[in-house]
Symmetry: C2
Subunit: 435 residues, 2 copies
């Protein structure tokens, strides 16, 4: 049995995503396809434009059999943490055989050689990395220059080959490969070339627009252009969510809350939060006092050493009180549960296969999150089943999922939806019938 | 030389305040009158309706010679902390001879007997207090019943006499008297009867409306009714501030920011903040998840044990990260500086008298707050002058003043005023000429 795994954000699901999914299926010819998807906050350090429930609903319609939620704590981390969480989750399903990711290079061989180096961290490489960090380069750049110099010495890869890791999807792909190695996973990685716009391209370029471009179109209410760039189901749900007063949600909606909170902080409080180092604390505190928009805040914090996404993610870490200690811990343990946001009729079969294999709980009713642990403890006591869970981390991790949804839901335009803990109230999405 | 001190919020300055000031001056016949005033946040646990700069401006016009700012950390504490900070500040001016406060009873004798008991805390009283706290009464009520039973036993005061401390101004007055005793202050306390509405009366009742009623009128844009209830200068500045896009500021403006932040918190993080005990943490966390307005939040947290103002103040403590440790410390040290928001021509003479007497810095240019300490350290080294300052507390205290202004300023309607650290940018208010 072949099960294809993909790692996605679908923010929102567009024609490029559909193309990628189709190509990936052609390549693997899987019996089932599952996805791990970011929840209400995404890796670029922003809220998703529509909530995870709606995004899961679309994905099930477009050919994913089970949608797992990437725990919030991984979804807003750098490529390294994001990849470790999502690959870890796929690995823990115990049924995923292949993972396919899109990349600019589509050169799995080169990526794998680089991944091997980054995984093994040979001493020569480490020295070079330190050299470039000392020069004040951001981590991604320091790593790039260190790799170029390292491979120049041993002549395995050319400079041009290394430069593929300048592209965001190649970088992410690299981290997926490293994570697979770390986990000693049996999942086979594949990559296919990304079609259409660059991830960050703000300009609309026809039927293959990037998610960034589509979000911009939505902000500008250019619905006809969105319609051309997304499957009909996406368009339908975009319209529904707007009518309900839920989406679209932008980082600008968080502007006053973020700035206000940042202005309460002192420099000495900040260093405990993940990502706050190398003087970023001072830059954040100062910038917050003198800006009145979030865009300007990012701009004023920005320096050669800190990329925009790094800044955005770090601000979320601060806001949610995510400490170094917590991230170090979860980057050790990996996901502690497999939360299912939705599944198809076909996906249901796969879930029952999974249930006999997994060593971490499959969560379909999050409001039961406490009793799930009680049952696991009973199993462990009776030696009825093998579980691998770290209880303390489990609670932290899922409570952060709940928190992130509770915060997100406050920013729906229709505040009626803000009154509930939606993670505990929403029913799992089940899509009946053949796709 | 007689110097009258008054403790005020002037939120905003109205006819009742003018009446009180006139009566106090008639009673004392002072050479000078100074006031200690809350800054941008007031004791009821809310932002002031117009900022401290405007309120100081009005007060100078109405007959106050120097306006000192009560440090933020005291201004949002319970009657006990508020009184200790404000009486402490007046005491540290070294020139205030008399303090006059308004009270419902105007019975300084009874208040003083009760204050003496609360200051000395005789063992019999302590046992009674514990008994009523155990029964689940809020602290003010437990104290009231304990006092009634205590004085019933020794027959010094009747139940009716004790019941005067049910009124908010008598309670505050009581705390002023206790603070004077604690500080062994030479300032002589007096009280006069409050004219007009109760502090909390929301209904407009003619020319003597409470500040609460006036704020409500402003919310409803009933300018003509405000005009009748405040001196012309107040009315003028209310109109100016609204035109500038600064005031009025209501707690509702903070709604989304507060709720959003509260939803990021965990119960185990909360106990370190001042006022969070007796299960209040659990009530706050739960209420925040299920409410979408701040009024409803207060309502859902409310219980017999927690008064509304207690809840409101505690939420500010949480938002600003004000810990038990910090409040215990400042309730030991008292104010570490005398920040002047404004003064009249007459007040200027008094300031120069003060300068030779004080053991804490008089701050007229807050942006110099670091160099002020450097100068003090030089003085101490050269034994040129006696200073009593605790450096660490000084920095904490004034940085919280800055933070509170920086947060407050974000909620001006005209966000142009949000771009500055106003405490460092605004010039001190100087009112030339005779009043």
């Amino acid at each position: 049995m072949k099960v294809l795994g993909v790692i996605v954000e679908y923010n929102p699901f567009h024609n490029g995503h559909l193309y990628h999914l189709k190509k990936a299926k052609e390549l693997i010819n899987p019996d089932y396809t599952v996805a791990v998807m970011s929840g209400n906050f995404v890796q670029r350090g922003e809220p998703a434009i529509i909530d995870k429930f709606s995004r899961a609903e679309i994905a099930l319609e477009m050919g994913i059999d089970i949608i797992f939620e990437l725990p919030f704590l991984y979804s807003i981390q750098d490529a390294n943490g994001f990849a470790f969480g999502s690959i870890g989750l796929l690995d823990k399903t115990k049924i995923v055989t292949d993972v396919v990711f899109g990349s600019e290079s589509a050169d799995i061989k080169t990526l794998d050689i680089i991944a091997e180096t980054l995984y093994n961290q040979p001493e020569d490489y480490q020295i070079l990395l330190k050299k470039y960090l000392k020069k004040g380069y951001s981590f991604p750049n320091a790593r790039k220059y260190a790799l170029i110099e390292y491979f120049e010495q041993n002549k395995i890869l050319s400079k041009e080959q290394i430069l593929i890791i300048e592209k965001s999807n190649d970088i992410l792909g690299l981290e997926y490969l490293i994570a697979l190695k770390k986990l000693n996973s049996k999942i086979i990685p594949h990559t296919i070339r990304r079609k259409g716009s660059d991830y960050n391209d703000e300009n609309f370029i026809g039927n293959f627009s990037s998610a960034t471009a589509i979000r911009k179109l939505w902000k500008e209410k250019k619905y006809e252009l969105i319609k051309n760039a997304v499957p009909f189901k996406t368009f339908e749900i975009i319209q529904r969510e707007e009518k309900l007063g839920k989406g679209p949600i932008f980082i600008e909606d968080f502007e006053l809350s973020f700035l206000s909170y940042l202005r309460t902080l002192s420099r000495d409080n900040l260093k405990k939060y993940y990502g706050v180092n190398e003087g970023l604390d001072q830059r954040i505190i100062e910038a917050a006092k003198h800006t009145n928009t979030i865009k300007e805040l990012y701009h004023n914090i920005k320096s050669k050493r800190f990329t925009y996404t790094r800044i955005k993610r770090t601000l979320l870490n601060i806001y949610f009180g995510i400490t170094n200690e917590l991230i170090e811990n979860i980057n050790n343990t990996g996901p502690q549960y497999l939360r299912v946001l939705g599944f198809t009729e076909k996906g249901r079969e796969l879930l029952s296969v999974m249930r006999n294999k997994v060593e971490y709980p499959i969560i379909t009713t999050p409001s039961n999150y406490v009793s799930i642990i009680k049952n696991i403890e009973r199993d462990l006591k009776n030696k009825r089943k093998m579980w691998n869970i770290d209880k303390k981390t489990y609670f932290k991790m899922i409570e952060y999922d709940f928190k992130s949804t509770n915060v997100y839901s406050l920013y729906y335009k229709n505040k009626e939806y803000s009154r509930y803990e939606l993670d505990k109230k929403m029913k799992i999405i089940y899509r009946k019938g053949k796709i």
